[in-house]
Amino acid sequence: MLSGVAKWAFWNAGPRFFFMALRSAMRVLQTVTCLAPCFGMGQSVMMLAAQSIADFLAGITEAIAPGKGLQYVLAAVIHAVLLVHAFALSPAVFIWLERKVAGRIQDRLGPTRVGGLFGWLQSLADGIKLVQKEDLCPPAADSLLFRSAPYFVCVASFAAFMVLPFSHGWVAVAADCGLFIILAILSLEVFGIIMAGYSSGSKWSLFGGMREAAQMVSYEIPLAICALVPVIAAGSLNLGEIGGMQRGGVQNWFILHDPFSFIAFFVYFVVATASCKRAPFDLAEAESELVGGFHTEYSGIRWSFFFMGEYASMFAVCGIASILFLGGWNTGIPPLDDALYTARNASGSDGSAIVGYLANVLGLLVFVSKAFVGVFVQIWLRWTLPRLRIDQVMTTCLKYLVPISCFLFLGATLWPLLLATAAQRSTWTPQPLGARAAAELRESTAATSAPVAEMPVPAVPAVQAQLDARPEGAIQ
C-alpha cells in the first residue's frame, strides 16, 4: 500500500510537480522578459528623478566609481524597487480587504483559514494558485494582442505611481506637470482593456471592451475638469506643491477651499470610481450578463495582471483625490502640521536629519491611510449598489456629470473674484493661500543649490502685474 503510494508519487506526482515548477519558473522568466521593455519607459522617466537621490548617493558611490553613471543606475534601481513594491503589495492588501468587506456586507466571514488571523495570507495563496494555472490563449484570439493586453493595463497603472508623491518630497519624478502626467498615464489603461476585449475572439469580451471604451472616453472629461478645480485654487499642477499648500489645519484643505471644490471632491470620487471600472460602473466585466466581460477568456497570471492593475489604479486615483482635496500627507491638525514642517526643514543640520525623515514617514502613513479610506469606500460601494445599465452609465456621465463639473469649474474660477470684491480677501480662511504657496516655492528653490537663490527676481512690470493679478497673491 505504502509502496504503491510511493510508486505513484514517484511516477506521477514527482515529474508532474517538477514540470509544474519548471513551467512556473518559465512563466516567471517569461513575465520578467516581457515586462522589461514595458518598464523601460518607466525607467527612462525615472532617470529624471534619479538625480535627486543621485546627489544623495554622491558621497557613497564616489569612493567606488567616480562619475555619475553608477549613481544614476543605483538611484533608478532604488526608485523602481520601492515603486514595484508599492504597486505589487497594495493590490494584495486590497484584494484581501475586498473579500473581507464583501463577506461582512453579505453577512458571512470571508477568508478565515489561510495565514491564521483574519485569513490575511489569502492574497498570497491566490497569487500562488494563479501563477500555477495554465496560460490559455483561445484559438480564435489574435495571440499577439491577447498576450500583450494585460501588460498594457499593468504598466499603465504602475507608471502612475512614478509621479505620485507619497510624502513631502517622496516622489520618483517630481515633475512640474505631475497631475497632467498622471492623468495621461492612467488614461492608457483603457487601451489594454479594449485590446483584451477585441483580441479575445469572444462576443462577451467584445461587448465588455466596447462598453469600457465608451465609458472611459466619456468619463475622462469630468475627471479632468474636476481635477482642475483644486488646481485653479493652487495655481500649480505639481502634486508636491499642491499637497504642501494644504498645510496648517483642515480648513486649508482644498475640499474646504470653496463650495465648488467641496462638491467637486464628490464628483471626482464618483468619476474616479467609474474610471477604475468599479461597481456600480463595472459594465466592462458585468459578471451576470457578460460572464467576465473583457477578461472572460483570460486565465492564470495574465488574468491576475488585470486585477493588479485595477486595484493599483484604485489606490492611485484615491491618492490623487487625497492630494488634490484632502491635504495629502498633512495631518490637518495645525500644531502637528507646523511641528512636522519645522522638523522637515530643519533636517540637514546635526542629528535632525533623522527627525525630518521620521516626519516624512508620518506623512507617508497619513497619505496612505487617506488613500486607503478612499479605496475602502470604493469597495463598500461595490458591494452595496447594484450595477447600472450601459445607457444609465452614459446618461449619468454626459447629461449630469459633465454639466455639473463644467459648472463647478466656472464657479471655482469666479469664487476668488467674488471674495475679492465682496470681502476684500483671497480666501475665507485666516491664512491666505498666497503665503502658503510662497512658502512652498521658497522651500523648493531653497533646496536647490546656492547660486539659484541669487536669481534675479522678475522686476518687469508686466510680469509683476501678472503675478499681482493672481487672486491668491504673488507667488514670487
Partner: protein, 202 residues
Amino acid sequence: MSNALLISAASAPGGNLLFFVFALAACLCAVAVVAAQTVVRMAFWLVLSLGSTAALFFLADADFVGAAQLLIYVGGTLVLLVFGVMLTASGPYLKISTSPGEIVLGSAVALLFLFVVIASISGVNWPAPAVADAGDLQTTAGNTLRPLGLSFLGTRPDLDLADGDQLSPGYLLPFEIVSVHLLVVLIGAAYLARAKRRATGT
C-alpha cells in the same frame, strides 16, 4: 522638492543609451504599423511607437509635451480609432490587404520623403547643446510648466528679463486661435450628431 536636477537626463551617462533604445523602438514600431495587416494590430504598434516618442520627449526634459503626446494620441485618438473599428467591422478581424502596386507606390513616396528628411537634416548646422551650469536653471530640469503657462498668457519672463524695456507678446494669439478652433470643431461635431439623429428619427 529635493535636490536640484542640474543636468538633463539626456546628458546623463545612461541617457544616450536610453535615447537609442527608444528611438529604435519608435522607428521599428512605425515600420510594424505599415507592415501589419489588421487595423487593431496597427493601432497596437502605433501605441508602442507613440509611447516611445513620448519617452523621447521625457528624456529631452519636455515633460508637458510627453504627457500631452500620451494623453492626446495614445489615450484619445487611438482609443477612438479602435472603438470605431469595433463598431464598424463586419468580421471578427478586419484585414486590409495591399496590392503590389500600392506597396511600390507607397514605398517610392516613403523613400522620397526619407531622402528629403535626410537632406534637410544634413543641411542644418546643428549647434552643440549648451551645457547648463549650476545656477542657470531656476527650476528643476523638465519643470517648464510655469514659463509655458506665462507665455500662453502673453508674457515671456525668460525673454523679458534679458532686455528689460521690450516686452514680447508670448503665445497668446496662437493659444486663442487654437481654442476658438476647438470650439468650432465642437460645435460642428454637435451639429453633425444632431443632424444624423433627425434623419433616422423621421
